[in-house]
């Protein structure tokens, strides 16, 4: 049976950056596996620009950003197994056995010491948000439509209504308009838009595409192909029927969920708020030797942060292999007032940690506070604004010994 020190599952932004950093940390025996026949993950279909400002100081498209990391991985001689899906992970003591179905190598069993989960995420769909109505052709998730349009050159529709104003929905609104389609409306259930400001301006306002906040689709009509959707407004928690919009396609951009299939198979516990694995500040899950980073851990808005997270994760893996990960008891991190989630779920005494969090709703002029169970303020940071679509990071230095838990909250 083949054996490697570290297996990285997924060759998207996270997996590539993790592999490159492992090499930089002198871990030589690394294998990256991806089910697709190319590396780069979701970036490949994101042909718009807006990637790499933090990481490279310039604005790149998704494929360009991916290429930079593919080149680095090549430079470092990272071994890659493409067109290969990991289907099972069995942990026995310190060794894990991984089953891979590979187009070129058949069924491959690999013994590994450590695993980095970097499988990315998938899109929420109609069933997840329970839109009633008929089940005709013409209902697509935004990511699928993006793949059809950008990679395969097919238009899935002519007249669109888009549900969800997250970044993918906004970017697709512009993309479809540029391809000659009519985007009749973008509907958002929340009272505020879900995507980044720059995308609202550049993708909707510039093309006169109306955005309706506090609106939802209450019915899909059409038996073979979508013919129209019924839309209601939400006011004080009540629905008021507003309009019927005729369209041949409904695009759903209603959020992403970490790809958990394998994590669950491997015995990894999940965090209800992020829907990804529970990890410590070392990015290690509850299964010793299994680590996670990127969108499989929690959904990121900027790829640059994915790359950073993956590097930090790789560093922790190199310490794990050298038996140098701090063994101290983990201190739980709680989400307090107005905090939707915090990653990681635990930190370690006398260690540094980067907390990543998102607020429940948009806020202005707030203070983000990190306090211990004994009331010590470990960090306090003023923010002019905090919005759910922009991840907030807080650096914690030297977590004090003796505290039993810490809480992160917004002081309004």
């Amino acid at each position: 049976m083949k054996s490697v020190d570290v297996l990285v599952i997924g060759a998207g932004a996270a997996g590539l950056a993790a592999a490159v950093s492992l090499k930089e940390n002198s871990i030589e025996d690394v294998l990256v596996v991806d089910r697709q026949n190319f590396a780069g993950g979701i970036l490949f279909q994101c042909i718009h620009s807006g990637f790499g400002l933090h990481r490279f100081g310039e604005e790149l498209t998704g494929p360009e950003y991916a290429q930079r990391y593919i080149d680095m991985a090549e430079c470092q001689n990272v071994e890659m197994l493409l067109s290969s899906s990991v289907v099972d992970i069995v942990s026995k003591d310190d060794i894990k056995e991984v089953i891979i179905l590979s187009q070129d190598s058949g069924l491959v069993k690999v013994k590994v010491k450590a695993i980095i989960l970097a499988m990315g995420c998938r899109e929420r769909n109609r069933g997840n948000i329970n839109i009633p109505g008929s089940r005709p052709a013409g209902i697509f998730t935004a990511g699928l439509a993006q793949k059809l349009v950008n990679i395969e050159g097919y238009m899935p529709g002519n007249e669109f209504v888009i549900v969800g104003s997250g970044d993918i929905g906004l970017i697709m609104a512009r993309r479809l308009t540029l391809e000659g389609a009519k985007v009749k409306a973008v509907l958002e259930i929340q009272p505020y838009p879900g995507g980044l400001d720059r995308n609202i301006v550049q993708c909707l306002d510039d093309f006169d595409i109306p955005l309706y906040t506090s609106h939802i689709v209450t019915n899909i009509c059409g038996s073979r192909r979508v013919e129209s959707v019924d839309v209601s407004e939400i006011t004080d928690g009540r629905l008021t029927p507003k309009m019927k919009i005729s369209c041949d396609t409904l695009l759903l951009s209603v959020g992403l969920i970490p790809e958990n299939e394998l994590s669950i198979t491997a015995g990894v516990s999940l965090n209800a708020a992020t829907a990804g694995p529970i990890v410590s500040s070392d990015y290690m899950t509850n299964v010793p030797g299994i680590f996670a980073c990127g969108n499989v851990l929690h959904v990121h808005d900027l790829v640059d942060y994915v790359s950073d997270e993956a590097s930090a994760c790789a560093k922790a893996v190199s310490m794990y292999l050298a038996n140098k990960l701090p063994q101290d008891k983990c201190i739980p991190v709680h989400s307090g007032n107005m905090v939707r989630y915090v990653v990681p779920s635990t930190v370690k005494p006398q260690c540094d940690a980067i907390l990543k969090l998102r607020p429940v709703a948009p806020m202005k002029n707030v203070k983000i506070k990190v306090v211990s169970d004994r009331g010590d303020v470990l960090k306090s940071k003023k923010l002019i604004r905090a919005i759910p679509s922009e991840m907030i990071t807080v650096q914690l230095n030297d977590v004090p010994t003796g505290c039993k838990s810490i809480t992160v909250y917004f002081e309004i």
């Binding site: 899906s85 002519n158 038996s223 192909r225």
Partner: protein, 485 residues
């Protein structure tokens, strides 16, 4: 000149398919006519997939008789045709004294109908069998002979085997007119094709009344009764092992918690009489009703666990029992009004129809070449679930396409999808029913584009012509380089 058959069957749902397969044992020429692009696209694809034990139906009714008889056929059928089937058992649960009384009544019904091995269970035994039930349960009626099944796989398998044994399947053949001349029916489709047959079996489900009317018979009407069903994420796992029923009220068996043969749990169906035979929409109100009910029976069920929903229409006849008989028009036989438990009863319905045809004087000689076996494709998913990697490894050596996973949620390989295409399933929905690709939690978000390519490549259909479920449901409207056309 249109082709002549001994028998033509209208409708390729489980009823028409069962009849076709049953008739394929004989030296007869049989045509199976279906208006949709694939079989099992009617009520037979949208149901609860339960092989009922048979205690619900009124003793003496055809429904009761054929349900109990049909039930006994499934071990053999599943063995011959290799569709998924498991005898899991049904449990009717009671939460108050009145419901307890209903259990006794059902028990007596069952005894009269000839249901075997039923038991009345107390609270403890009930919870022992199904620990996720609401602990307030008082007791239950347990019928271990009930089973669960993959309903469309069953129908696909029946038709495949029937065709292998000589039945001719005519798809997209919507019967639009029937003329009886001397001893022949001449049957015309809406696109101008026609066939002739000595016998005509009406298994047209919701449209059986229209078909009968084409022959001048207006003695029954079919009303659609809608049932909405909701499928839960497999994350919530195997919440129940058996089918859980409430103590029933009138006209339906109530809202159930149903383990499906593929793992996830389904909840539903509702039962609402409607007017429109094309109305397959689900409603907010339906969801609320299903959910309110099942969250009482099995409190662990949450709305957020729902991954998809669908609605099916039961063909409810004006007389409230199956209509299976010859008619005043000689040679025209009804297998109509087959509402629940029609799936369960289908093998017995087929047997009965054969008997009727025989009694009408048709010479039915056994076909010595009849082969009852149909082989299913081995599923990657099953091997992975069972961690049977030796078999999977060998399979991949013999067919490389087994190593290419297309559907990541359900572990469906390219080998299985290509196999389904060569078995004649070339719409996205049929591929889903045949292989489970697109039926997992991402509902096709990742694999649809690859499935489109595979259908195009192996069935030689232009991508722009590939549909979800037949003409008018194309997925791609135009190519980008060519622009609007």
């Amino acid at each position: 000149m249109s082709k002549k058959y001994d028998i033509a069957i209208i409708g390729a749902g489980v009823v028409g398919a069962s009849i076709a397969r049953r008739l394929s044992r004989y030296k007869l020429t049989v045509a199976l006519l279906e208006k949709e692009v694939d079989v099992s696209f009617g009520t037979s694809k949208a149901n609860s997939g339960i092989i009922h034990a048979g205690f619900h139906d009124t003793p003496g009714s055809l429904k009761a008789e054929l349900c109990v008889r049909g039930n006994t056929e499934y071990d053999r059928l599943a063995d011959e045709l290799e569709f998924p089937f498991e005898r899991r058992g049904e449990l009717v649960v009671a939460f108050d004294e009145e419901q307890q009384q209903t259990l006794y009544k059902l028990y007596r019904n069952g005894q009269q109908n000839g249901v075997r091995y039923m038991e009345l269970l107390g609270r403890e035994r009930t919870l022992e069998l199904e620990p996720n039930l609401n602990p307030d349960v008082l007791g239950s009626l347990y019928a271990p002979t009930a089973g669960i099944i993959g309903p469309y796989e069953y129908c696909f398998a029946l038709v495949e085997n029937a065709v292998k044994n000589g039945v001719e399947l005519l798809l997209s053949f919507e019967v639009a007119g029937i003329h009886k001349t001397n001893n022949f029916f001449s049957v015309e489709s809406s696109d101008g094709r026609s066939i002739e047959s000595s016998f005509l079996v009406n298994a047209a489900g919701l449209c059986a009344d229209r078909i009968a009317a084409m022959c001048g018979m207006n003695n029954f009407k079919i009303t659609p009764r809608k049932g909405e069903e909701y499928l839960l994420d497999k994350r919530v796992g195997k919440l129940v092992r058996r089918v859980i029923f409430p103590a029933p009220k009138t006209n339906s068996k109530g809202i159930l918690v149903i383990p499906t043969i593929d793992g996830p749990v389904m909840i539903g169906p509702t039962a609402d009489d409607i007017d429109d035979k094309e109305d397959f929409s689900t409603t907010k109100e339906g969801l609320d009703r299903v959910f309110a009910f099942t969250s009482h029976t099995v409190p662990a069920i949450r709305v957020s666990d729902i991954i998809t929903s669908f609605a099916g229409l039961r063909p409810v006849p004006s007389r409230n029992d199956f209509i299976i008989d010859k008619t005043e028009v000689s040679g025209f036989i009804n297998a109509a009004g087959i509402q629940s438990p029609g799936l369960t009863a289908s093998p017995a319905i087929a047997e009965k129809i054969c008997g009727i045809i025989l009694s009408c004087g048709l010479r039915m000689e056994l076909n010595p070449d009849f082969n009852p076996k149909r082989k299913a494709k081995i599923r990657t998913r099953t091997l992975v679930e069972n961690r049977d990697y030796d078999t999977l490894g060998k399979l991949i050596q013999s067919d490389k396409n087994y190593s290419k996973l297309v559907c990541r949620c359900e572990n469906v390989s390219e080998a299985e999808i290509i196999d389904a295409i060569y078995r004649g399933h070339t719409t996205i929905d049929s591929i889903k029913y045949a292989t489970r690709a697109c039926s997992g939690r991402c509902q096709g978000g990742f694999c649809t584009s690859r499935i489109l390519q595979l259908i195009s490549e192996h069935a030689g259909i232009d991508i722009l012509k590939i549909t979800k479920k037949g003409p008018g449901s194309e997925l791609i409207l135009h190519r980008i380089d060519k622009g609007h056309q």
